[in-house]
Symmetry: C2
Subunit: 403 residues, 2 copies
């Protein structure tokens, strides 16, 4: 039996089909028996969808008890009626669950700019609240109901100990499939039964998102609906974590980060038309922020991505992308390694091209999991990021499917 | 007879084949009879090629008399011997022309990270100085000798009057063709016989580059070798322009800007694997800088570019890219028009999708020159930019050609 979000104490859930999408489940509800510490990170896109506005407001006090997610319509660029639709989702679920509407968070994914089907979704919520359960298949229903063009559901689960209490943490995510006519949305919902102060939880979620979901790229665009939510309902009954100094905090943060990286990597692996999963690592950088910025620039470069598609150990493109990150950069200090996740080959040493065996590296680049490692010899900070190659399939997928 | 850089008073030039490239001309020399006011804008890439370092140093005093350009080897990531090679190019040409070596500017384009063929290029310079001429075909030889994977030569010429004196201005450029294994380089050289103060010229070149070469995108990467150089040798004998307030200055700036936009558009039109030329225009923005930043974000978006390849009037992608520019943006204020350069159709009004005829717009998007116009209704500043679509050919070109 695979464990999932239903193995977190007090969590019940359901994923249903309301008809907004023709063939697949399109509505998910996650409910905690008791109000939970809640934290979230939202899209940086200035065009934020209606559910983002509602959830931002409802989570402001650091507490939540339920999440309702619909797929098939992003409720973005939908004006006043869209905002009313998102509010109706929260209100309907709150009234069915007899909880305060501010305890309900809302998320949407799907087409942009199409009138939001409030009536169908409200009816779907009313009909499905009774199905909330902690049976394991309900977790899978949730993971499936939030998908759009993803080709598989994305779930994670981990248990660990704090204060001698067993802590459970489960997560679901959806990824970067593009749905016509619009943007891919990244959603992730993580629930845990740890007891933690909500202000500390918010800080921690921000930091862990920076090292996980913010370090993945498929096409460099940010959707109008991106959202990562963490609920911690305290039912594990550990002594409530209130400070970063506590031993329990470090254990929790480590596992939260691992969960986020796990879900983020699943999203990258399912990137549209991608043929390669690429891990980028920068070591010995002046700072973590520096390393992350540079990784994002390299992993977003169309030239680097097409080179990886073509299995070409094209170090000049990598160095040039690094030089474009807007950071001071002395390529004459760096060592560069290219290869697969199992084996990398040093191609540059202190900026000088080594006499590497091109055919051997090309063979490594036939693997599906690649690695690019840059040693900057300029400090002590390290970072990792994950991306895909750029393929002809990506272009076809995003051009042929038209409105 | 087509006029070109050879029609600028005092300018002679030549384009030759030295053998660095197997089949094509690969060395160009441009020479002014007298020292000229000189200004340049260089790549922002932190990995700057050796010729960029040399030219930056030589142009610091605002004067130059000759330019030597080689194609086939970018002289980037080539270490100490590369720098010596770039210096040898300047020194050789200076000594042949009996001028100070600081009056010689150097540019290179081609492969990165391959030992610079100093011997061949120095020999080529010595051999070809005697060919310098103002015959028209020499201008074409220069335009052709600086190309890499460009599919055609890029030239421009304009005459206008200042102080009752006829001013001539000619330019050549090379574009964004990718050469394996590395980055595309953008080079542009403009010569004119106007008399203008070098400090004022530098300011003007910076401003005009911002509205022209900096507003084009093919794949969002910046090469290690990009360089735009303007020489103004004063042989038109107008009264030397010293201030932005002079009537002659405005005329000059207008024509310099037109020349740069003309060359920049030629570069975009020759973008690798591109099937569409797209003009982006933003009107009624809070500032010109705002409009330019937003245009660059939209025109760089893989989602927008694939939509244009697919002839899809996908306004959600355009709005979402605009929302990602890191600028305050209220899409509910904006009008959006999509179509061809001849005819655009309004698809959004104050953020609301209009009931447009999708098939008619798809028909317009079959044209090779497209237009996307965004009216922000948030100020009085306007800007334009130019880009390409993203095609399967681009991906193939940049992945199949491997080292």
């Amino acid at each position: 039996m695979i464990k999932n979000i239903t193995n977190v104490r007090g969590i019940t859930c359901w994923g249903a089909h309301t008809g907004v999408k023709s063939m697949r489940r399109d509505l998910a509800i996650i409910y905690s028996k008791v109000p939970a510490s809640a934290a979230a990170v939202f899209t940086q896109n200035q065009v934020a969808a209606a559910p983002v506005l509602v959830t931002r407001k409802h989570i402001a006090n650091g507490m939540a008890q339920a999440i309702v997610i619909n797929a098939g319509n992003a409720n973005a660029a939908t004006g006043k009626s869209g905002l009313e639709g998102a509010e109706a989702m929260a209100l309907t679920l709150a009234s069915e669950l007899r909880i305060d509407k501010e305890l309900v968070l809302v998320a949407s994914t799907g087409i942009i700019g199409v009138k939001f089907p409030t009536t169908e979704i409200v009816a779907g919520i009313k009909e499905n609240v009774r199905n909330l359960t902690n049976r394991s298949n309900a977790g899978s229903f949730v993971a499936n109901a939030i998908l759009t063009t993803d080709t598989y559901a994305k779930e994670g689960f981990v248990e660990f100990e704090v204060d001698g209490r067993e802590i459970n943490m489960g997560g679901v995510a959806k990824g970067s499939g593009m749905i016509h006519p619009n943007m891919a949305t990244m959603l992730a919902f993580i629930v845990t039964d740890i007891a933690i102060d909500p202000v500390l939880l918010q800080k921690t979620v921000k930091e862990t998102v920076d090292g996980s979901f913010n370090m993945i790229t498929v096409d460099g665009d940010t959707s109008t609906n991106d959202m990562v939510v963490v609920l911690a309902n305290g039912l594990a009954q550990n002594e409530k974590i209130k400070s970063k100094k506590e031993a329990g905090f470090k254990i929790f943060k480590k596992h939260l980060e691992e969960m986020m990286i796990h879900l983020a990597q699943l999203i990258v692996s399912d990137g549209e038309g991608a043929s390669k999963f690429i891990e980028y690592e920068i070591v010995n950088a002046p700072s973590e922020a520096y390393a992350r910025t540079m990784i994002r620039k390299i992993s977003d470069s169309a030239l680097v991505k097409t080179a990886m598609f073509g299995r070409d150990p094209n170090w000049g493109r990598i160095i040039s992308a690094a030089g474009n990150a807007g950071l001071p950069f002395d390529y004459e200090k760096i060592d560069l390694y290219i290869g697969s996740e199992k084996k990398v080959v040093k191609v540059l040493e202190k900026g000088n091209p080594l006499d590497f065996d091109t055919n051997y590296i090309k063979k490594l680049l036939r693997e599906s999991h690649l690695k690019i490692l840059l040693d900057l010899h300029s400090g002590k900070a390290n970072a990792k990021g994950w991306g895909t190659d750029l393929t002809t399939d990506y272009v076809l997928f995003n051009s042929v499917y038209s409105t």
